[in-house]
Symmetry: C3
Subunit: 162 residues, 3 copies
């Protein structure tokens, strides 16, 4: 890669990353899968539970990842309002078509059942891998390491089986 190709790729990856967080927080799920490679892997669910079961296994495939996050945010007894913010990344190139990114992050999630409001407020780093497919950079792998998570005692009740 020339210097300018590298700079353009960094911009594209930054925008790709920003777009994913925005689609998640504004609920544009139909646009979410296409930001990932077909064989993308997400390990960010391994610390949360859906339908009362911890999802320890990585989720494989862009469509499955999009379906899992949509279900997590909109399924259950109430929708989640979320804010995901990420900060200055470290992006490195492994090859002309592969890159890694480490992003400091903070997330807020809230849901409400009548007068009861539950919250989660977390901090950590997204560790991502990107791959160039044709002319576009896409997300190929995601893992989330946590520095701290605060949540209300009932936060995980939303998706509990009835």
């Amino acid at each position: 890669m020339t210097d300018i190709e590298k700079l353009l790729a960094i911009e594209e990856i930054r925008t790709l990353f920003a777009r994913r967080l925005r689609y998640m927080d504004t609920g544009e799920w139909h646009r979410y899968a296409a930001l990932h490679t077909d064989d993308a892997v997400s390990e960010t669910f391994s610390s949360v539970s859906i339908d009362g079961q911890a999802i320890g296994a990585p989720i494989v495939g862009s469509t499955a990842i999009a379906a899992a996050i949509e279900h997590y945010m909109t399924g259950g007894i109430a929708r989640v309002t979320s804010v995901h913010h990420a900060h200055c990344p470290e992006i490195d190139f492994v090859s002309d078509s592969e890159a890694t990114g480490i992003w400091p992050m903070e997330d807020h999630l809230w849901w409400r059942d009548g007068a009861r409001e539950e919250f989660l407020h977390g901090y950590g780093h997204y560790h991502e891998r990107y791959r160039k497919v044709g002319s576009r950079w896409l997300i190929a792998h995601r893992r989330l390491s946590r520095l701290r998570v605060d949540s209300s005692p009932g936060f995980h009740d939303r998706l509990a089986p009835g």
Copy 2:
């Protein structure tokens, strides 16, 4: 635009944006208007009230925008301390001299009247348009969409008519 002109323009817009938030939080109002085009439009006030009246209409003109934000932050019975943080943007070029930017944002505002402290803590996205005037990129339009706002019950009392 060549690739390098585009990359330089993105850097300039990022710095322009950062500068605006800094001038707001450090109260450098005399520098605020000049970051905008003369005919800039701000719709960010449409959800707040000044002197007890909701400002539903956009504010037009760089000088009027600067005056409105300065009045909002320093007028009334107490000054506001503010922190505005914005995160990885999505910047796109409409033409060689026009661009758009979407910025995830978070703002904190506090004011104190003796022992009473009021706060607002919000989350959302700035949607901006930029225009190149001569050799400089400037802010031409701003809108704020909210994901969530938390505030103390008396937060909006500060600018209420006496």
Copy 3:
């Protein structure tokens, strides 16, 4: 500097900055000093106290800076968990080998002694200077200006003399 050299330098400084915050929050102290010039100066400690004494004087030298922050975070009666986030910077070049950066920032610190949890949550700007040493940009000077700091009453007790 050519335009492209400038863009590459901005990327390198952004990554350098991101790396410093990450090493601090993940406790990789052995990597911290090397991000600074040998003669780097940090004034960020001037508003905190270690071993009960305010450190009003700047800390000089990359090794001393790394030792001071490591002691602050891991010394005393409990380790500190920290989250440091920085947002869109303003980076300017003073010469081909000198640059300045202003970074809006937010930090969270927590420590726990049994059931007692103490916290600090601050907001402000890092003001940094960078110098190119050989082929690498390094941090040469750091100062922190605060917009606001909230902390629990006992937060500073951790490093108090016994």
